[in-house]
């Protein structure tokens, strides 16, 4: 077990490290000329270009630049720009010259927004999806079950952003069924926070719930045909206890794995949701950085996302080994 964890963490770290090296070379060594991108088209004087070059250490050799960037993540570093020295604290992912703020700070500021969207939607789609899926599996073959299977097939075929766009247009602006979406910090005003995120949660939750209903149904149908369920029935347990304590619990282990991956994906940035419902989260941060040519922010977003995905993947594998006693990590 311990050896397995060590090996997984080492493999994960190697992935993150390579992502870092690739993105570093893509942006700072490649022909992208970051100083022009950062400077923009207007008032780009040679002295300002030279200043940006110096602050990005572009005048130093490649290896030195990389060491500086790499060590900045662990020890923090100082960034010189326009005659000022700016402190970039640990973990320093670079400096956004367009916003004139450290990338880490920008990401940390947006983090609560994306976490709010992701966790709220997760509460909806897990409860809704698992309940519907479990009921469909218990009443397998009934009209409701077949209706669920075929409707979820069609629903999951629709592009998510079109569903979200239609909901945003027709449910808040044309007919005011839902309050206008937007983000208000939870600590400021919990009611406004709840109201502003209600529609994003509902849409994200509904779309994911159909998929989760299908996973849960499949997992539970399989669990219901297993020997331990027959044993539970044979020893006279009530159907409710057999279904929910035995079959559902066993079926949920595979659902938990998918849940972990989806959660990682959502926390990496719900770009479409944030763009459509005007919620200023991590996804919009990356998208705006693209529009402004803010390369350090894009790079920071990529690093954050890959770190998150790799880390959560390892956690899922370890949790899975506890949930499913048949899995032995060797």
């Amino acid at each position: 077990m311990f050896g397995y964890v060590i090996r997984r963490v080492a493999a994960g770290l190697s992935v993150v490290l390579v992502v870092m090296v690739i993105s570093f070379f893509l942006f700072f060594i490649g022909p992208a000329k970051p100083e022009y991108a950062i400077c923009g088209d207007r008032n780009c004087t040679p002295s300002r270009l030279a200043d940006i070059r110096a602050s990005l250490s572009l005048d130093k050799p490649v290896s030195e630049q990389f060491t500086e960037y790499f060590s900045g993540i662990f020890t923090g570093r100082e960034i010189h720009s326009g005659g000022f020295v700016k402190e970039c604290d640990v973990p320093c992912l670079g400096w956004s010259f367009i916003r004139n703020e450290p990338v880490t700070k920008l990401i940390v500021e947006r983090l609560p927004v994306t976490i709010s969207v992701a966790l709220g939607a997760m509460v909806i789609f897990t409860t809704l999806g698992v309940t519907i899926g479990a009921l469909a599996a218990i009443h397998r073959g009934s009209i409701w079950d077949r209706a669920l299977v075929s409707s979820s097939l069609i629903l999951t075929s629709f592009p998510y952003y079109l569903v979200a766009l239609l909901a945003a247009i027709y449910l808040t602006i044309q007919f005011e069924v839902f309050p206008r979406s937007g983000y208000h910090p939870l600590t400021d005003n919990p009611w406004e926070w709840f109201k502003g995120l209600l529609l994003p949660w509902a849409v994200l939750g509904a779309v994911y719930a159909t998929a989760y209903a299908r996973y849960t149904r499949a997992a539970m149908v399989e669990a219901l045909s297993e020997d331990f369920v027959r044993t539970a029935r044979a020893k006279g347990l009530s159907p409710r206890r057999v279904h929910f304590r035995h079959a559902l619990r066993a079926g949920l282990t595979s659902v938990v794995t998918i849940l972990g991956l989806d959660l990682a994906g959502l926390l990496a940035g719900t770009i479409f949701t944030e763009r459509i419902f005007e919620v200023q989260g991590l996804g919009l941060l990356a998208l705006n950085a693209f529009d402004n040519g803010d390369l350090p922010v894009i790079m920071g977003s990529v690093m954050y996302a890959s770190f998150l995905l790799v880390g959560l993947n390892i956690v899922i594998d370890i949790v899975y080994s506890f949930l499913d006693p048949r899995v032995r990590l060797g």
């Binding site: 493999a11 994960g12 190697s14 992935v15 993150v16 390579v18 992502v19 993105s23 893509l26 942006f27 490649g30 022909p31 992208a32 000329k33 991108a37 097939l153 069609i154 999951t156 075929s157 629709f158 592009p159 998510y160 952003y161 079109l162 766009l165 239609l166 247009i169 602006i173 044309q174 994906g265 990496a268 940035g269 770009i271 479409f272 763009r275 996804g283 990356a286 998208l287 950085a289 693209f290 529009d291 040519g293 390369l295 894009i298 790079m299 977003s301 990529v302 996302a305 890959s306 995905l309 790799v310 993947n313």
Partner: protein, 329 residues
């Protein structure tokens, strides 16, 4: 030919119809033939296939269609636009879907031409990623050892990068390699999308094929082929690959709608295709400002994507069912 699934032919088929048994009662069928037969009986699949075919024909003959209807996707009709940028004419025979606000370009022509980039990106990216996934899966599963570890590590790496972020990160860098003429930028963006989709999309199939190969390679017919000294290349392509056709076709058929969705979505976000290429995603983005006053502007690209993706997905699901010996109809 060594093909273990052949044995199931009789079991998965309904009692043979008199016409079939009269001719040659013991004619063997490959799994692909069985699947095609099942597909032909599937009404949903037939309808979806016809819809998809219609879209493909629209994309191929886009020039012919716009020539017949005398519309032009690039020509702007400023005389039909009022001072506020709103079109002054309703949809008519001359402009079947109306005209675009502000520039006054014909929306029907843009819709017809918008089918092109969607299908070009989706089909080329899915063909490349399917080929890549098959090759990587075969190599990892069959060679094992170091090659397997390297490929598995590469899959881990690719899976740790969200697709949209990759496009956001790579598109501006690639763009600076070329000159900044609008048409070139648009073409570069299109092929950048194809390359990114292809390079990041094969991982699912790669894992699947690897797992299949790991179990197939211990089967008797492969052992026998090895024992009589069949060269590796022939084992891979003549013995292993035919057993994987089902998985490969299923992946291909479901990859196409997902890439169409992704292309239109990225174009809507402004990181995919760019003007002047007509693209449904771009039209949706532009139309959002006019959804109240001019809903047809928003709905025609939205319905295009919706119908095409739905038809492709349902067709893909039918193909999956047709190849799965466990489904009963």
């Amino acid at each position: 030919m060594a093909d273990p699934t052949l044995l199931e032919t009789g079991a998965s088929e309904p009692p043979a119809s008199p016409t079939a048994s009269a001719g040659s009662p013991l004619r063997s069928k490959s799994p692909t033939q069985i699947a095609l037969e099942r597909l032909r009986k599937d009404k949903v699949a037939i309808i979806c296939a016809i819809i998809v075919l219609a879209f493909i024909l629209i994309a191929i003959f886009a020039n012919v269609i716009t020539a017949i209807t005398h519309t032009d996707p690039g020509q702007s009709n400023q005389q039909l636009i009022d001072d506020y940028g709103f079109p002054t004419v309703n949809p008519s025979a001359e402009h079947p879907f109306g005209i675009e606000p502000r520039l006054g370009r014909d929306l029907f022509a843009r819709w017809v031409h918008g089918a092109r980039p969607s299908l070009i990106v989706a089909i080329s990216a899915s063909v490349i990623s399917t080929a890549l996934g098959t090759a990587m899966g075969l190599l990892a599963g069959f060679l094992g050892g170091r090659v397997d570890r390297a490929i598995s590590w590469l899959i881990d790496l690719l899976l740790s990068l969200p697709l949209i972020l990759v496009v956001i990160a790579i598109a501006p860098v690639v763009q600076t390699w070329f000159n900044t003429n609008n048409e070139t930028v648009s073409m570069v963006r299109l092929w950048t999308l194809v390359v990114i989709f292809a390079f990041f999309g094969w991982t699912g199939l790669g894992r699947l094929i690897r797992a299949e190969v790991l179990s197939l390679r211990e089967r008797e017919f492969i052992q026998a082929a090895r024992a009589i000294g069949v060269p590796t290349r022939q084992i891979l392509f003549r013995e292993l690959l035919p057993n994987l056709t089902g998985q490969i076709i299923i992946f291909l058929s479901l990859a196409i709608p997902s890439y169409i969705t992704a292309e239109a979505g990225l174009s809507y976000l402004g990181v995919g295709l760019t003007e002047p290429t007509p693209s449904w995603g771009l039209t949706i983005n532009a139309a959002l400002n006019y959804y109240e006053t001019y809903p047809i502007y928003f709905w025609q690209p939205a319905l295009g994507i919706l119908v095409l993706v739905l038809a492709l997905n349902l067709l893909g699901d039918s193909i999956r069912d047709a190849f799965d010996p466990k489904t009963r109809r």
